[in-house]
């Protein structure tokens, strides 16, 4: 089973779910995802930035060069209303997917 492809498919949902909490810059997103998933998800930077820029192009997030952090300006991303609505649909889809898998393969649900 190609788990890496499945993980890659989760990237957008993971990033948007972080931005629901607060606005963040790219480096912090990578660190938080890795920490919270206990190392299971490691978002490569070469995956993260095209993703963030695509989300911004599609109006899901917006960015701004914000306050100084460690003495340097950082580019912060925040979720838009469109992004929040899109995330809600995504979460529903993932819920249905896991429920269906759990029904088909009960061992997964335990």
């Amino acid at each position: 089973m190609d788990v890496e492809r499945i993980k890659s498919a989760c990237s957008e949902t993971l990033v948007i779910s972080l931005l629901r909490e607060k606005s963040m810059h790219g480096y912090d997103m990578c660190k938080v995802i890795e920490k919270r998933s206990l190392g299971y998800f490691t978002l490569k930077h070469s995956t993260l930035y095209p993703l963030l820029h695509r989300l911004e192009r599609d109006g899901m997030v917006k960015s701004d060069w914000g306050e100084l952090d460690r003495g340097k300006p950082r580019k912060y991303y925040q979720l838009t209303k469109k992004g929040a609505a899109h995330h809600k649909k995504n979460v529903e889809s993932w819920r249905e997917l896991f429920a269906s898998i759990g029904n088909l393969i009960p061992e997964v649900a335990t």
Partner: protein, 243 residues
């Protein structure tokens, strides 16, 4: 700046429009600096931390391609879906069509405009011959830089030599035409003035100034043509040598 050389190279590879390109490079610069600081605080030496930070960024061909795809304009995105010959045909066809529409609608439909052009005499011929490519080149440059937003170094430098050459030809030919017209006008004025006593012989006193200007401008025009041919040849040879 620690990563200046690497970031300069990355900026050159990213085929996305400005200012998004410089914005992305600045964003990656802060990311690299943060990663470097964390690696050093974990105990890595500076050189290893620097190379580890760059390697972990994985700014390889896939990354560059992904960024280009995200930042392409809608027009460029639509055209890249087509085979290259067809997309080029559409681009040049659209530019040619707009150019012809401009020339025929604005210039030839307006009768006073035609009279104006005809009244200029012989020198209007080379000016118009140079002027028509200027219209098409102007449309092509506008499309390429502002609609398709191709900000690669090669495209930014394209056609500059041709535009400069055509501009100089139009300017010099226009000035030569002005001076020749004045030469003829003052010559006729003097012939009329000769019939009256005490009238100032304007042609006699301005003849030297106009003759030297006409001849100087003509030689300058020849020099511009020769220089353009030589520079075009140099550019062709330089591109062959670079291959």
């Amino acid at each position: 700046m620690r990563f200046a050389a690497y970031l300069r190279q990355l900026e050159g590879c990213l085929d996305i429009p400005y200012p998004q390109r410089s914005d992305l490079v600045a964003e990656i610069a802060t990311h690299l600096d943060d990663l470097y600081s964390d690696l050093v605080s974990e105990g890595l030496d500076e050189t290893t931390a620097k190379s580890t930070a760059i390697d972990s960024l994985s700014a390889d061909a896939d990354f560059i391609k992904a960024m280009c795809v995200v930042h392409q304009t809608a027009v460029a995105r639509a055209l890249t879906r087509l085979p290259r010959n067809i997309s080029l045909g559409i681009e040049y066809g659209a530019i040619t069509l707009i150019g012809f529409l401009l020339v025929f609608t604005v210039i030839l439909q307006e009768a006073p405009m035609i009279e104006f052009l005809a009244s200029g005499g012989f020198f209007m011929i080379p000016i118009n011959v140079a002027g028509i490519p200027i219209v098409f080149l102007g449309i092509e440059r506008f499309y390429s830089l502002f609609i398709k937003k191709d900000h690669s170094q090669e495209n930014l430098e394209k056609r500059l030599l041709s535009l400069t050459f055509l501009a100089l030809v139009c300017a010099l030919t226009g000035v030569i035409g002005t001076l020749v017209g004045l030469y003829q006008a003052f010559s006729v004025a003097d012939q009329i003035a000769a019939r009256f006593d005490g009238v100032f012989p304007i042609f006699e006193v301005t003849k030297i100034a106009m003759t030297t200007s006409i001849w100087g401008m003509t030689l300058a025009l020849i020099a511009v043509v020769v220089r353009f041919i030589a520079e075009a040849k140099l550019a062709r040879i330089a591109s062959v040598r670079a291959m």
